[in-house]
Symmetry: C2
Subunit: 403 residues, 2 copies
């Protein structure tokens, strides 16, 4: 039987254990929700403080000569984590806005086609944004069950838009196979990598993916509401257009001309003035990946999740797995009809995960700062919450507005 000592032994042997020192985590808290909001890197306060006091406070408007380069510079750093070329990624806006831009870009690259295929139950903003685009221009959004995706592709489809790792179940799509299926019908394939980048192996180039976006605030540790990024395969750069033509995506913003001319490549996905403080924090978040072997990190996250599933099967028989064992991202999902009060009781015990409706308890395992002993402590607390029935206490009965 696996014990806490065994977990500590795994930590002692973990070649990535050193990376936890790159973060500042509350003492006594077992944080298993880095898939929702990544932990605070130790250097972020100093990094952002320098941007505020020195770059803004002293350098003032002159610092823009430095800041304007950041979206491309940070894009190049993200590129390494997702198998893209350094000039194929730009940091801009949020994931939602990027979904809109990229879907519109796909339609203009396939002007004779008016269908976008996606997954029913996809992360909501992906569905909402595709349909929002449909409110302006005549398109059909086909949202189908995962098993029906390949069958929904035909010669009318401009874009297959999927989330690589599912936010609720953690299930990971086969990016290469589905991209190939889209290409076989002449469609483009685009990917929301929000729950993948920095967590699971992603190789956009090998999969020949056309488009992608993802957020900076989960596994990339960029902080709450960190800016997102957008990827477009180099082969599409010349023909790339998108409708949110802001001045920062112009070829020469400081000419202040009346007519729009797109900047080179992915820089034309920029819209308005980028939020510099968010970029500074994202830079610090991305620096936590410096020197980290991504396949090793992904393997550690999988091992942590596997251990959580094993221990939960042993100690928490009331929970049912809501995630696949194989082909799973850096998270685990377990089902219980009273997921919400159970999670609140668990948080009261100092173990943080979250809930996704209607009945899923969700736990994330970022490789850089999650320890095997955190998994052990998390499952032990969960078992105690379930066995004691303390989750039935009235203070956990109210659903929280924000989870």
């Amino acid at each position: 039987m696996f014990t806490r000592a065994d977990a500590l032994a795994l930590d002692a042997d973990d070649p990535l254990a050193f990376a936890r020192a790159r973060f500042s985590l509350p003492v006594g808290l077992t944080y298993l929700d880095g898939n929702s909001l990544g932990a605070l890197p130790r250097r972020t306060a100093t990094r952002v403080g320098d941007t505020i006091a020195r770059e803004w406070g002293q350098g003032l408007v002159g610092s823009w000569s430095e800041w304007f380069g950041w979206p491309a510079k940070l894009g190049a750093k993200i590129a390494r984590l997702i198998g893209a070329g350094p000039d194929e990624v730009i940091v801009t806006d949020n994931t939602s806005v990027n979904v809109f831009k990229l879907a519109a870009a796909a339609l203009s690259l396939r002007p004779e086609r008016r269908v976008i295929v996606t997954e029913a139950g996809n992360f909501p903003t992906d569905l909402y944004m595709l349909r929002g685009l449909g409110s302006l221009t005549d398109i059909e959004v086909r949202a189908v069950a995962p098993a029906e995706i390949a069958g929904a592709l035909d010669e009318h489809v401009a874009l297959l838009w999927l989330t690589h790792t599912h936010y609720r179940t953690g299930a990971v799509h086969d990016m290469a196979a589905l991209t190939a299926a889209a290409h076989a019908k002449g469609a483009l394939a685009g990917w929301d990598l929000s729950h993948s980048a920095g967590a699971v192996a992603v190789d956009l180039k090998a999969a020949q993916a056309d488009l992608a976006t993802g957020c900076g605030y989960k596994y990339l540790n960029g902080g709450p509401g960190a800016p997102a990024y957008a990827y477009v395969a180099g082969r599409h750069h010349e023909a790339l257009t998108q409708p949110l033509t802001g001045w920062i995506g112009h070829a020469a913003p400081f000419d202040f001309g009346d007519d729009y001319a797109p900047a080179r490549g992915v820089a034309r996905l920029l819209t308005g003035t980028p939020g510099v403080l968010g970029l500074a924090a994202l830079a610090s978040g991305l620096a936590t990946f410096d020197g980290i072997d991504m396949p090793a990190a992904a393997a550690k996250s999988r091992a942590l999740g596997d251990l959580f599933l094993d221990l939960a099967a042993e100690h928490c028989p009331a929970l049912e797995p809501a995630c696949p064992r194989e082909g799973r991202g850096a998270q685990v999902s377990l089902r219980h009809p009273h997921a919400e009060p159970i999670m609140q009781a668990l948080i009261a015990r100092g173990v943080v995960g979250d809930v996704r409706p209607p009945d899923v308890l969700r736990f994330g395992f970022p490789a850089l700062y999650t320890r095997y002993v955190d998994v052990w402590d998390g499952v032990e607390a969960l078992a105690q919450v379930l066995e004691s029935g303390e989750w039935q206490d009235s203070r956990f009965a109210q659903r929280r507005a924000v989870t």
Copy 2:
């Protein structure tokens, strides 16, 4: 003749002089570019540092219960500065993206009309975004000279979209008159307030304006790339729709439903997860207006600008005014065929303004931290740059990429 001692006397009598202590400005620098990037409020580093270390670092994902309220809370603070109701303004995205959303909203409020009238030579992103919207849906963007605006309004016009204070000339449109002219033809009127909010008197409600947006990083002192805000008059809230339907603008984001249902009022203009660090800095920027009488601030900015124009007329005969004397925002524009090297030479002397092509030297006078003596020092340095001819030095010959 007006002397430096006179300027110091005006500062000594200035009832708003106390507000300069709310900012951290470099010693020895005369900063006259707050219309491009507002100066650093003294409390911002601490405010953002607390959001990083305590709210994010310690509170982690639980702090979202607080953060989610910020876009509306900060919107209500901006509302006071622009004559809007507290529930009519939300902080979201950047100005460019908001122009797109608001223009699309206007088209859906006037579905039988397909024309947007705007000003030729408007700030570029306004023009680019309106035409970007036109790349998705069949509309006509009529960009006309200021004198032709009223004449361009007819029964086909859905929206008159103008920038209240012109970025290059500082000329201020008559918001009430032009809004009334639009309404007389059944069109809506929308305003880009980027160079107005916090600088000149704005009363959206009195003008019966329908829509507005503006940036947070100029007179609002929110920091580089601070989030922008969007205003929609309460009478349009129920019918309001916009196409960038992100999950944060949903009525119940944490239900994670497949179908979009808009949040109440202006909250439906939210798209993806808001950038919290940018919001924290904006909160600190807006706090610099606490207790400040806006008409008094606007009057001081006008007086500073008038003094700059008077002194420049006296000491810098080579410069021609490129701004109106009356109906001018909190900035001054002066024309010279060699504006770019002159500004570079001026910056080398420690006086910061900027240049707008082809030939405009631009100076801004935020009331909260600009002193009369700064105006005197700025004009004196400018006169010396012009008289000495030092701007012809080869080190000022190269045009800067970012200005």
